[in-house]
Symmetry: C2
Subunit: 294 residues, 2 copies
Amino acid sequence: MDVAIIGGGAVGLLFAAYIAKVDIKPTIYTRTTRQANLLVKEGLVLQKDEHIERYAVDAVPFEHFSGSEDIIVVAVKQYDCRAIVERLKILDDAKTILFTQNGMGHIQLLEDLKRHRIALSVVEHGVTKLVSNEVTHTGIGRIKLSDYHQSESLLGLLKEKLASPDFPILLESNWYKMIAEKLAANAVVNPLTAIYQVKNGALLHPFFKKNMEQLFVEVAATLKFEDPEQVFKQILLICEDTKDNTSSMLADLNNGRQTEVEAILGYLLHSAKKQGLPVPLTTFLYNSIKGLET
Amino acid sequence: MDVAIIGGGAVGLLFAAYIAKVDIKPTIYTRTTRQANLLVKEGLVLQKDEHIERYAVDAVPFEHFSGSEDIIVVAVKQYDCRAIVERLKILDDAKTILFTQNGMGHIQLLEDLKRHRIALSVVEHGVTKLVSNEVTHTGIGRIKLSDYHQSESLLGLLKEKLASPDFPILLESNWYKMIAEKLAANAVVNPLTAIYQVKNGALLHPFFKKNMEQLFVEVAATLKFEDPEQVFKQILLICEDTKDNTSSMLADLNNGRQTEVEAILGYLLHSAKKQGLPVPLTTFLYNSIKGLET
């Protein structure tokens, strides 16, 4: 099977490395020629603890993407999805496309891709990219996969091929629940760690935890969870399990990058408004992150 | 007239300096012997722009306070007021006591002092203390004075004696309005600058300004302003006038000191609860500052 990874960020490189690990040479489609050249010349480096592995990969800038691969992993940020979808929409053959984004913003784009098989995933690994051909696997979590449109047969195969103790794969039957629960975790953990400038574990301190609860009540109402208590427990577990991690939103702000606030809080605000739900904290935090971005 | 200043912080030293300027030698009651000795030995230094003045003052630790002065300026932080009031309560002679605190927390203590004449003040100057016998007057604002209990005759005299272009004094007829408006400004500017880690002027950026508005709606409802639009305009003016200033709450957090969050947001939460008003943002920000303090 031929695999394309679109996006040379931390998540794209993580997928590429664990695919290369099982002797499938992926093609990584990057934003810059510089990164593509480095990946081809130096290989893709996967670092975990003190252990370093180096994999041969193909890599070219995305402008050269022709859609020849059977499986396409879309690993760009939410806010770059639209341009990628425009390109995938006009491919001749039916492909299997796996989306890895946080938030719900990309879901509305998928109607345009119904000629393809579509799967969604949630990435729970701790992962950072320090050099453009190196990915550091800082925390072993899980990849959750769920079918969105006619991709069931492939998901079992993917799990069988790729799953390992360092890269566990979980198949989920309900894509909405899977994505919504990840969205809730992102909506609570990301903005609070970003405004307090703290690692994930600090949110468990009593005063911050009260605010997590207060914010989660709005998020749960907006996303209509059937069992909000269970979802909130999961979020507390994530804070515990990733207590020394810097959230992506805090890292983005500290590095002067655009955050995923639109995909996370922007989506929730929009959804709450449509439902006529008052969400003062979601609004406040959305404005806070937008202000801190500028 | 003999004047006691209780508290050797920035506000206490500012009052002491402008009193010394008109040839009244104040006695400053400090927390530490070290500060008192330094003030007596080196004098009190007032710095404004490049200009430095040095005044002779008396200074002793507060444990030696006997209440011999006619006028007593209480310039300790809100959270230290109770101990001072306990001491003032048992003075034999009737004094004129001027309180300089932010917030409303000290007002409930004043019932115990009705044998004295009591005035309240609001300090709108920008002022910092870098060395314990030096105060830097970074921004010329105003002192507002208002009678709380039988102090009217003195307030006119104080204004006449002390007011100058660098130290304007305004007499206010309604102490509640004066204190409540300052409380509202503190409740909006302090916590937002503290969580965003920005100077006061940054709150005027569009996204932060939306949050100021949203928070002010809760504060105005809690304090029952007759003309909230006018009060909010004043707060915007304060942000503009003090745009390069670091708020006291942000400075306290950055220096690992206790903040005045209880006197400001704690009071508002308590008052809103008594009135049955929902105040989600006030609650969120109270918990945020309490969490950041620890």
